[in-house]
């Protein structure tokens, strides 16, 4: 009789631990998105300063990016609010990059080119973090939905998590123009 009890208790402990592992993976994956976002926030002031020097007429686009960055890093926001904000920032950044494509002097600048590469890299890492987060969430959601895990998950209050949607800007392939004939100064 007591052997059955021990076996059941052991099974519950193992199940509980496996759910905790999956839950922690979700938390870790979310934290890594934060790290990538921070990297992107750090790049933006530098990018804005560089673009300002060449493209004075793009004040509105620059201000929009600066403002969105300020809002994103200030105050305590819910996960949903931050996701919406970061998506808007992604879109504003892609728009800015497309706009400054028409400034050949800027495009030829080594510094700008390096920034653009760094930005592409951060965006790609951000996308990878989001995908890792979604994979962790999918594994976690499946784990708490299947029987008998579902009974335990319900008892200890594990909740279903929502997947992150891919921002519009991420569906566009970024590029860095390095062809000499196009990067030369205008006549």
């Amino acid at each position: 009789m007591w052997i059955t009890f021990v076996v059941i208790a052991l099974a519950v402990v193992l199940l509980y631990n496996s759910l905790i592992v999956k839950k922690n993976r979700v938390e870790n994956a979310f934290a890594s998105i934060d790290v990538m976002l921070k990297k992107r926030y750090d790049l933006i002031p530098n990018l804005v300063e560089t673009v300002k020097g060449y493209a004075r007429h793009e004040r509105a686009a620059l201000e929009e990016v600066t403002e969105l960055r300020r809002q994103a890093i200030s105050g305590n926001k819910s996960t949903e609010e931050r996701i919406v904000m970061d998506n808007s920032l992604s879109d504003a950044l892609s728009r800015l990059i497309v706009t400054v494509e028409s400034y050949p002097d800027l495009k030829a600048s080594e510094h700008f080119m390096h920034l653009q590469r760094s930005l592409n890299e951060v965006e790609e890492q951000l996308s990878a973090s989001r995908r890792a987060y979604n994979a962790a969430v999918t594994a976690y959601n499946t784990a708490i939905e299947v029987f008998p895990n579902s009974l335990l998950a319900r008892t200890v209050g594990f909740k279903h998590r929502t997947l992150l949607a891919t921002p519009q800007g991420e569906r566009v392939v970024p590029r860095v123009d390095t062809s000499p004939e196009e990067t030369g100064p205008t006549a």
């Binding site: 994956a29 592409n120 890492q125 995908r131 890792a132 994979a135 970024p174 590029r175």
Partner: protein, 322 residues
């Protein structure tokens, strides 16, 4: 990239004359080999027939034996000459036709250290062989590839105490390494998926238990997941390397090659092991070297290797690695 039509023109204008000379060498090597085989038969016959009648008849058997050895050595020499010429004048010529800047070493191969660093195959190697080393750069991407055949051995001792050694292939085919276009620190492996395809959910669970290549990385592309299983030291980095675009390209490359492909991303290089059951860039001694289909096969196999840089989009250098 050169097309099949370009190759046909190249075959007609340049290659055919060289092939005629190589074909003459092949015929000579084949005849010499046939003579050596005949000599071998004569040794066997004379030994069996004469020695049973008179012991002194061992003399013709020994004479035939010496003759056969001489013929055998000559045949081997001729074969080597034919083989060398085939490599230089045909394979080398096709490679130079594809790009004169590429380097070709018929006897060279990917060093064992690089094969081991790639980490694709974890079995210890007892016999490491390879040839046809090609290296160069396509635009901004440096690459190197060769044919490889790696094996491990097992020893069996039967009840009489006789020990028998058996050789088992670990990998045979084309081993290709190229500079990857993104920086990364960890290791990521993309291996052919057999467990999930054969055993479904159970197979997928088994994959999770396997730890030799790191943690299982579940990706979101169903077609890619059907063909491959991914392991890595870092979940995010694996996804950073395997962007949705690259996953599609790897699936396309697998379809194009029609063979099992293993990939690893290690120390900023991408390594590909494409399995072949035939020997690459070789011509049989008994069969014409002049055939256009054979030349087309060499060209196709070489183009598959050179095409990898473009197929995997390795020249897209929009990240901090230039």
């Amino acid at each position: 990239m050169k097309t099949a039509e370009d190759l046909r023109a190249f075959y007609r204008t340049v290659l055919r004359d060289d092939l005629r000379e190589v074909e003459a060498l092949r015929s000579a090597a084949r005849n010499q080999t046939l003579l050596a085989i005949l000599g071998g038969i004569a040794v066997g016959l004379s030994a069996a027939l004469f020695t049973s009648i008179h012991l002194w008849a061992i003399v013709p058997a020994v004479t035939f034996l010496i003759l056969t050895i001489v013929l055998g050595v000559k045949a081997r020499k001729r074969y080597k000459h034919f083989h060398g010429e085939l490599k230089q004048r045909v394979i080398g010529s096709i490679i130079r036709f594809l790009d004169p800047a590429f380097t070709y070493r018929p006897e060279g191969h990917i060093p064992q250290s690089r094969y081991e660093e790639s980490g694709i195959f974890k079995s210890g190697v007892d016999r490491y062989r390879g040839d046809d080393l090609v290296s160069g750069s396509i635009d901004r991407t440096a690459f190197v590839f060769s044919e490889l055949h790696t094996e491990y051995k097992t020893r069996h001792t039967d009840s009489k105490g006789n020990t028998r050694t058996e050789w088992h292939t670990i990998f045979k085919g084309l081993f290709f390494c190229a500079d990857f276009n993104k920086h990364f620190k960890g290791t990521t492996y993309v291996l052919p998926d057999t467990a999930e395809r054969l055993f479904g959910f159970l197979g997928s669970t088994l994959q999770g238990w396997k730890r030799s290549h790191g943690d299982l990385v579940k990706l979101e592309d169903p077609e890619f997941e059907k063909e491959f299983v991914v392991y890595g030291s870092d979940q995010i980095e694996a996804r950073y390397i395997l962007s949705p675009g690259l996953m599609e390209r790897i699936v396309e490359l697998k379809k194009k090659a029609g063979r099992k492909i293993h990939l690893s991303f290690v120390q900023s290089w991408v390594n590909l092991a494409i399995e072949f059951d035939k020997d690459l860039f070789e011509a049989p001694l008994f069969g014409s070297a002049l055939d256009y289909p054979k030349v087309r096969d060499y060209f196709r196999d070489l183009q598959l290797a050179f095409g990898i840089v473009e197929d995997l989009n390795l020249n897209t250098r929009i990240w901090t690695k230039t």
